[in-house]
């Protein structure tokens, strides 16, 4: 009944990685299968479901209106929220977003915001008074490792298909792709599974823009990276991103 990772599995993961193999047979820089389903525009102005392996995220985009921030009076507002809903994992609890969910939201936010993915100036209705507000909500419904990339990718896909009533398509010009690595011992693997996350020392997310530039990074976990490890992750991310970006629907 209980799916908490047993010690045995943890040891297998580590042993396998030491021998240069992942338990599920993937190469160190290989993603699990990725499925994308674009929402049929029910109540959300845009939505997408992304599965990476068994990890599943539903992302909905809602458009509202509001007053712009004083320091960007002619720009629309972007708001990203993420929920690790308790149905997704026995490790998630009901209640307001905890530090993990907040970190997730902020990492997804930075990828979209820093790549200037959305042309926020086009969302200004009346400067200093009224602008469009883009709410991105990522719901992690099933958690089997690497919710960051699943949520970020769901957001990118949902934004591509967001239609604002009496306004038109949301002006989206970039597809920032987040790539999350786990460091296990001396090895670094892309797209960690739940079992791999349970034994990883540290985590690194590298978000790459369409032009190959880095637009966001985030280290997580109680371990560390060396400078060379980070440089290698960036190189791998730049390479993998090209494949992943093609999957955007």
């Amino acid at each position: 009944m209980n799916k908490i990772i047993p010690e045995l599995v943890r040891n297998s993961v580590i042993g396998s990685i030491k021998e240069g193999k992942r338990l599920d047979g993937r190469a160190f820089d290989e993603y699990r299968p990725i499925e994308i389903e674009i929402g049929d525009l029910g109540k959300a102005e845009g939505s997408a479901r992304v599965k990476i392996g068994n990890t599943r995220v539903e992302c909905g985009v809602k458009i509202g209106e509001g007053e712009p921030y004083p320091d960007s009076p002619d720009e629309g507002i972007l708001t990203v929220n993420a929920e690790l809903v308790p149905m997704a994992s026995p490790y998630f609890q009901p209640g307001p977003p905890d530090e993990r969910a907040i970190e997730l939201a902020r990492v997804v936010d930075r990828g979209i915001r820093e790549s200037k993915s959305i042309e926020l100036k086009k969302l200004c209705i009346t400067p200093e008074e009224l602008v469009k507000v883009v709410y991105i909500d990522a719901y992690v419904l099933d958690y089997d490792g690497n919710y960051i990339d699943a949520a970020a990718f769901a957001a990118v896909n949902a934004l591509q298909h967001t239609e604002i009533p009496e306004f038109g398509k949301l002006p989206v010009v970039k597809k920032p792709i987040s790539n999350t690595f786990a460091k296990i011992g001396d090895a670094i693997v892309l797209d960690p599974s739940l079992e791999e996350e349970s034994v990883m020392d540290a985590r690194l997310t590298v978000t790459i823009e369409d032009n190959g530039h880095v637009c966001a990074m985030q280290k997580g976990g109680s371990g560390y990276f060396t400078a060379d490890e980070i440089k290698n992750c960036i190189k791998t991310a730049k390479r993998k991103t090209k494949e992943i970006r093609k999957l955007v629907k």
């Binding site: 009944m1 209980n2 799916k3 029910g42 109540k43 959300a44 939505s47 068994n54 599943r56 539903e58 909905g60 985009v61 809602k62 509202g64 929220n81 929920e83 809903v85 308790p86 149905m87 997704a88 994992s89 026995p90 009901p94 307001p96 977003p97 709410y135 909500d137 719901y139 419904l141 099933d142 958690y143 089997d144």
Partner: protein
């Protein structure tokens, strides 16, 4: 109920989506849709999409909640922010707290809680899209998810609503009918046990209208019940 409006909800005996008064919207039910949960189910009733997951029986925290005589059932109904016309702020509001309560009370009568003493059984319901009847879709999904989790049950609970629009009693109100109609009555029913486990109503019913609505609703739940059983059968066949 009943924002006054000029919207005509019944024309030539047909409802705004073309249905007859005693007709359900298209219903899809699928069991076992999530990997992590012990049991899960997805339910679509027209434009209303609900997903339910079950964890348990499992150790209950905090410990002072533990009941030595039976399992403690906990339910959480939640609407995704993007499931409604105007974005809903995440987190429980008064409406969802009430619905979580009546959902729990709709499921308790059919679960053999006494078989799982000192444990907790958690039911989580997420509404991904809302077009009327979200609580009943959630209960229908939760019931299948409980069965999918292997929790011993006396019967499945099937749920749907009946109501009144343009002075006509109708089954399974869609969002517009709910907003501009005259009455809404969600019902949960365990057909084999003949137990009505959820009943709420708001609006305006004469005694006769109530009785018609109750008949419609019980009839609707029986049709949903068959789809629940079919979904579980498909799930078991797939697993073999």
């Amino acid at each position: 109920m009943g924002k006054s409006s000029d919207i005509k909800l019944i024309t030539d005996g047909k409802r705004i989506d073309g249905r007859k008064p005693n007709e359900l919207r298209p219903v899809k039910i699928k069991a076992g849709v999530l990997e992590r949960a012990d049991g899960s189910a997805y339910v679509e009733v027209g434009g209303t999409h609900a997903i339910a997951a079950v964890y348990g029986p499992r150790t209950l925290h905090p410990r002072h909640l533990v009941n030595a005589q039976k399992a403690v059932l906990r339910t959480k109904y939640d609407m995704a922010p993007f499931s409604v016309d105007d974005r809903k702020r995440p987190g429980p509001d008064r409406r969802s707290i009430e619905i979580s309560k009546v959902t729990r009370e709709a499921l308790e009568p059919v679960i053999f809680l006494e078989q799982y003493k000192k444990t907790g059984i958690d039911v989580f319901i997420e509404i991904l899209q809302s077009d009327g009847g979200t609580r009943v879709a959630g209960i229908t999904a939760a019931s299948v998810a409980l069965a999918d989790a292997g929790i011993a049950m006396r019967d499945l609970v099937a749920a749907c609503a009946a109501g009144k629009v343009d002075d006509t009693v109708v089954l399974d109100l869609c969002g517009k009918e709910d907003n501009f109609g005259q009455a809404d009555m969600p019902i949960a029913y365990a057909p084999n046990e003949d137990k009505i486990t959820l009943l709420q109503m708001d609006g305006d019913f004469t005694e006769e209208e109530f009785e018609t609505a109750l008949k419609y609703a019980l009839d609707g739940t029986k049709r949903i019940y068959e789809l629940q059983k079919k979904a579980l059968k498909e799930r078991y066949e797939k697993n073999e």
